[in-house]
């Protein structure tokens, strides 16, 4: 793993991966973890901001200046030498860097029309990042083939900039004959890998290769209450090896608690029986800590049963996002009502960086290896000479890119 990536990950989760004594590590981690948690308590929101620059959410940001809880004992040096070196400020330096450069995240949503994909993405990122096709006035015809629509937004929060791209797939699963309707999606994902690969094999590489690879694919399961549909199985079988799939149960407000847990159990079992590994994949758990945390998520929480909404209502003096029905108000962020908060925390607050890493280190590498093997061990686009010929310069003097 590159240092950059490693550091960003540490900044994200506050966990240290470098060599340090365990007790210091845990002590420090707890301190940091607790500050993160405090920042997480929901503050009542006054309203959806029109633009993103003045978002008041402080939940995503870890404490600005981490103070070491205990002066670090340097390892391998004479233990009689006490003192503070300041290695841990590397975290702060990386943070500053990240804030300046920002980072990008590409999320794809797949599912039949009407399952609330756009609403959920908007709710996740608390902005209108996905244009809903659900206004009843507009004549939105279901496209005959699956289309891929990628829309980019820049969201800023606590000084951190995120270039978010939402990739929508209208037309998936809506036809009478849905054979191979996942092919355009698979093609798109592979095209992004190809693009990245091409940039990587260039002699003169860009400092930061623009990353359009799909980091996360939210697959929306229809809440039938029975089991997965054949189309769901087919899609996930084909794509779980290519991209991180996070299955979610859409419009979960149609199921009672018992129905929900039964359905989730059945879905989990079906996925297991069919050998479908959704994110977080078991084989990529790095250490025991990861494993226990992910096991709990894999075996109990997933697939998350979510409800999305962009409307606010007054409940107990607070304004909450929800759905108002004659028999009650469903609160989106209330864990007793639905698991939206769990999904949000999972994707954004704890595993965002990991999603990117798995995409880069596993899925992309698999693609790259396959491409190189197909090309006889040569990078794509290379001829017999084994070098990529640079484009003929327009002027007599070759300019360095």
């Amino acid at each position: 793993m590159s240092k950059d990536v490693q550091a960003r990950r540490n900044a994200q989760t506050g966990r240290r991966r470098d060599t340090e004594t365990p007790e210091h590590a845990s002590g420090h981690r707890d301190a940091r973890w607790s500050t993160l948690r405090r920042a997480h308590t929901c503050t009542p929101r006054t309203g959806l901001p029109e633009t993103r620059t003045d978002a008041a959410m402080s939940e995503l940001v870890p404490e600005p200046r981490p103070k070491p809880a205990v002066p670090m004992k340097p390892i391998g040096i004479n233990p009689n030498l006490l003192g503070y070196i300041g290695i841990d400020t590397i975290i702060e330096q990386m943070r500053k860097k990240t804030m300046k450069t920002g980072f990008d995240f590409n999320i794809m949503v797949v599912g039949q029309s009407g399952l609330g994909k756009s609403t959920l993405v908007n709710t996740l990122f608390k902005s209108q990042v996905s244009r809903k096709a659900s206004s009843w006035n507009r004549e939105e015809k279901i496209p005959k083939t699956v289309e891929i629509k990628a829309i980019g937004h820049v969201i800023e929060e606590g000084g951190v900039k995120m270039k978010l791209t939402v990739i929508d797939t209208p037309g998936f699963g809506d036809q009478i004959n849905n054979e191979n309707c996942w092919e355009p999606i698979e093609k798109y994902i592979n095209e992004q890998y190809e693009k990245f690969l091409k940039e990587e094999v260039n002699i003169a590489r860009k400092k930061r290769i623009p990353d359009t690879r799909v980091h996360c694919c939210l697959y929306f399961i229809s809440p039938t209450g029975h089991s997965l549909r054949p189309l769901d199985l087919e899609f996930m079988k084909h794509l779980s090896k290519v991209v991180n799939i996070i299955p979610v149960i859409a419009k979960a407000d149609t199921m009672t608690l018992e129905e929900k847990s039964e359905f989730k159990q059945r879905v989990r079992k079906e996925l297991e029986v069919n050998g479908i590994e959704f994110y977080p994949q078991k084989e990529f758990d790095e250490d025991l800590e990861d494993k226990t945390e992910n096991d709990k998520i894999r075996q109990e929480s997933m697939p998350f049963a979510v409800v999305g909404s962009d409307k606010e209502y007054q409940v107990n003096g607070k304004r909450v996002l929800g759905r108002k029905t004659p028999w009650g108000i469903i609160e989106v962020e209330n864990l007793n009502h639905c698991e939206f908060a769990l999904l949000r925390d999972f994707v954004i607050r704890t595993h965002l960086q990991d999603l990117k890493e798995v995409t880069h280190n596993i899925h992309y590498e698999t693609y790259r290896a396959k491409r190189l093997n197909d090309n006889g061990g040569l990078p794509p686009g290379e001829g017999l000479l084994g070098t990529v010929l640079p484009p003929v310069p327009a002027t007599p003097c070759p300019t360095a890119e």
Binding site: P223, T224, P230, W327, N336
Partner: protein, 372 residues
């Protein structure tokens, strides 16, 4: 006595409805209801709620991998319901596997074939020699379930409805309607109505109220018509939510949906319309309109083997059937029987005309003799 006075002034057929009523009560009713739609829309639960039965006790729901290669099957379940001395033999026709596979092309053909087979059977029975105990297995009504998660009718819905709308009474229903907020329900209903009109799908039309019905009934009737397609929620569980009495409903953490609450869903409307007021009308429309249309199409296609034009919805009288020229192709038994019957009818018609002519002649002769 009063009765004696009535005897003198009235003929007495005012009691005819009672006689009919008593006869039909003795005979009992049979009614065949078909439910169609994607799996997981609450069809079985709704049927159990409507008729307070447990028809689907032993049902096995197959897993997704099993459904990959499943074809559509037609299942029939019968139950006898008695209420207030009236027996109803209800048959529910189910279509498991509809809309399940990845490729659903032509998945409605088995359903269409099933409906036509029932018509064919009835036609055969009707033209047969022993017509005393004809079993009416024709489908009288089809409840078609539309998903609340979509944005109106899906291409599969449109294809199915277009294939069956001239063969069975369709009542569109939005299943699992507790997924929707009131505004969404309204918008969805509006969208579905527009789509039905656009695709020229004929759903079951409620008959107009008689003008002498009272205002209340008229208002109820208008309300019912406005709420089509019915947005329903089914449940066989009783919830005690602290109200005056236990209600049938679904209990969520944020509230309880009451199945029989008209503000929560249209279950009451559907039940009233299907069971209480229009059961007989559905049977009549099936017999007078849909069956006759099938019969006319069937006979016309025999008469003109090349030309398969679709009969109009108007009722073809028995008389006009005799004017069809005899078919040229070799026929199966049913068709032969039909042809024989028609021949007989024509002969009887001729005889009747001859007799009429004779009568007129004798009348004229009589007048002549009178005059003389």
């Amino acid at each position: 006595t009063a009765i004696g006075a009535m005897d003198k002034e009235y003929v007495g057929f005012a009691a005819l409805p009672n006689q009919l009523h008593r006869k039909s009560v003795k005979k009992g009713f049979d009614f065949t209801l078909m439910v169609a739609g994607e799996s997981g829309l609450g069809k079985s639960t709704l049927i159990n709620s409507l008729f307070l039965t447990n028809l689907y006790e032993d049902r096995q729901i197959p897993e997704a991998s099993a459904r990959l290669t499943q074809t559509l099957t037609i299942e029939r379940r019968g139950v006898e319901i008695e209420e207030g001395g009236i027996k109803v033999k209800l048959t529910v026709v189910d279509t498991p596997g509809f809309g399940d596979s990845v490729d659903c092309s032509d998945c409605w053909l088995p359903v269409v074939r099933f409906i036509e087979e029932q018509f064919e059977q009835y036609l055969r029975d009707e033209s047969g020699l022993n017509r005393k105990n004809i079993q009416d297995s024709r489908v009288h009504c089809c409840l078609y379930f539309i998903s609340p998660f979509g944005r109106g009718l899906r291409p599969l819905d449109v294809a199915f409805l277009r294939a069956v709308h001239e063969k069975v009474n369709i009542i569109p229903v939005i299943g699992k309607a507790d997924a929707l907020m009131p505004k969404e329900t309204q918008a969805l209903k509006q969208k579905i109505r527009e789509q039905l009109k656009e695709e020229e799908i004929n759903i079951y039309q409620f008959p107009e109220c008689d003008s002498d019905e009272d205002e209340d009934f008229k208002r109820q009737d208008a309300e019912m018509k406005e709420s089509i397609p019915f947005a329903v929620v089914g449940s066989c569980e009783v919830v005690r939510d602290g109200g005056p009495r236990p209600v049938r409903g679904r209990h969520y953490s944020w509230g309880t949906v009451e199945v029989e609450n008209p503000h929560h869903c249209d279950f009451l409307n559907l039940r009233r319309m299907l069971v209480q007021t229009h059961l007989q009308d559905l049977k009549e429309v099936t017999h007078d309109l849909l069956y006759e249309g099938y019969r006319a199409r069937c006979l016309q296609s025999l008469a003109r083997p090349g030309a398969r034009d679709r009969a109009s919805r108007s009722k073809l009288s028995r008389q006009s059937a005799t004017e069809i020229p005899l078919p040229m192709l070799p026929l199966a038994d049913t068709e032969k029987l039909i042809r024989e019957k028609d021949e007989e009818l024509r002969r009887m018609q001729e005889m009747l005309e001859k007799m009429q002519a004779q009568m007129q002649l004798s009348q004229a002769q009589g007048e002549q003799s009178d005059a003389l």
